[in-house]
């Protein structure tokens, strides 16, 4: 995997900020990556498709949210540290304000019976949503039968044994990385 090198085009800090702010304000319903791709690749031409996929793969294996990791990586590539900062602030700002006001409204009206009833439906729908997202990601990244064992171990660790996510993350990841360790006699793990 080759990380794209020099920026293909010039982008000013204000252009970067506005591009990420727009994605942060319009990507209702999740799926931010699709919005980012259409903005960064198609609209602005700051990345080609290959570069986008490579940044995406990095975003997914680093701690932090995929979308803000993308903002940091792309912003840094275009304009260094200031670029990373304005991109991250831009993509977070609209949702942050919205959820801030949701919190305030909820304090005043959250206990009303009709609000409670509506929220029963909203939270149930969110369960369906996260289950669908987990399935879609699983279909995409699980390529070998062995993978299923590590999925199961992580689920058991958190949901059955009630261990902290940190411990499960470290223990099961260590096992999995060791399982896919580099071998001198084999070409190594399959490329993803």
């Amino acid at each position: 995997m080759v990380v794209p090198s020099a920026p293909p085009v010039e982008a000013t800090l204000s252009q970067i900020f506005r591009a990420f702010l727009l994605v942060g304000a319009t990507s209702f319903g999740g799926g931010v990556m699709a919005y980012l791709r259409s903005s960064l690749v198609e609209k602005h031409g700051w990345l080609d498709d290959e570069g986008f996929v490579q940044f995406l793969a990095m975003s997914q294996s680093l701690p932090g949210l995929n979308s803000t990791n993308m903002a940091v990586l792309v912003g840094d590539r275009l304009r260094g540290t200031p670029g990373a900062i304005v991109a991250t602030v831009g993509i977070c700002l609209p949702g942050a304000f919205l959820m801030f006001f949701v919190g305030m409204l909820h304090r005043q009206h959250g206990a009303r019976p009709l609000v409670t009833a509506a929220f029963h439906g909203v939270t149930a729908a969110a369960v369906g949503l996260v289950a669908a997202v987990a399935l879609q990601i699983g279909r995409k990244v699980l390529t070998r039968v062995d993978d299923l064992a590590f999925v199961a171990l992580a689920v058991i660790g958190v949901s059955v044994l009630h261990q902290s996510v940190l411990i499960v993350l470290f223990v099961v990841s260590a096992l999995a990385v060791w399982w896919y360790r580099p071998r001198d006699d084999a070409p190594g793990p399959p490329a993803r």
Partner: protein, 175 residues
Amino acid sequence: MSQLPALFWVFAYLSLLTVGGGLAAFPELKALTVERYHWLSFQELIRFYSLGQIAPGPNMMMVTAVGEHVAGVIGALVVVIAFFGPTGVLTLGTGRLWRRLEGWRWRDPIQCGLAPVSVGLLVAGAISLAKGALIGPTSVLIAGVVFLLLVRTKINPAVLVLCGAGAGLYAFGLG
């Protein structure tokens, strides 16, 4: 005010667990904000999390609602800085290092190993959310319908979650 340092550390810590997505950190988010610090109830957390899923931008902007809940504007600000600052710096550094790790023989095993673990953590997060949100047959039905529609069609999830609000009003509000 006295809660601010705890707010900072809790959300900085949680951000490091979001490998693969914010949902991975949900069980720990519940353990810390609900059970350990009693900042809000499990039902309140689930409500914020659910609305956060359809809010635009990164899908964990609900952290500002928790910060606001605990300590107003300053609480929201502290939480955002804690949640996005440290991981941002980490990503910046790793991004620049990544090219140099190109020939490193452990790089692919790390990517291959982390992928299934992050999926497992997403599933565990979904289970934790489901335990609080699925309170009876009606909510199971709503979740099931939303799941099937999302897997089979290209409907925007925000539309389905709003329909969920309508279904909730109809099922639980007109009793």
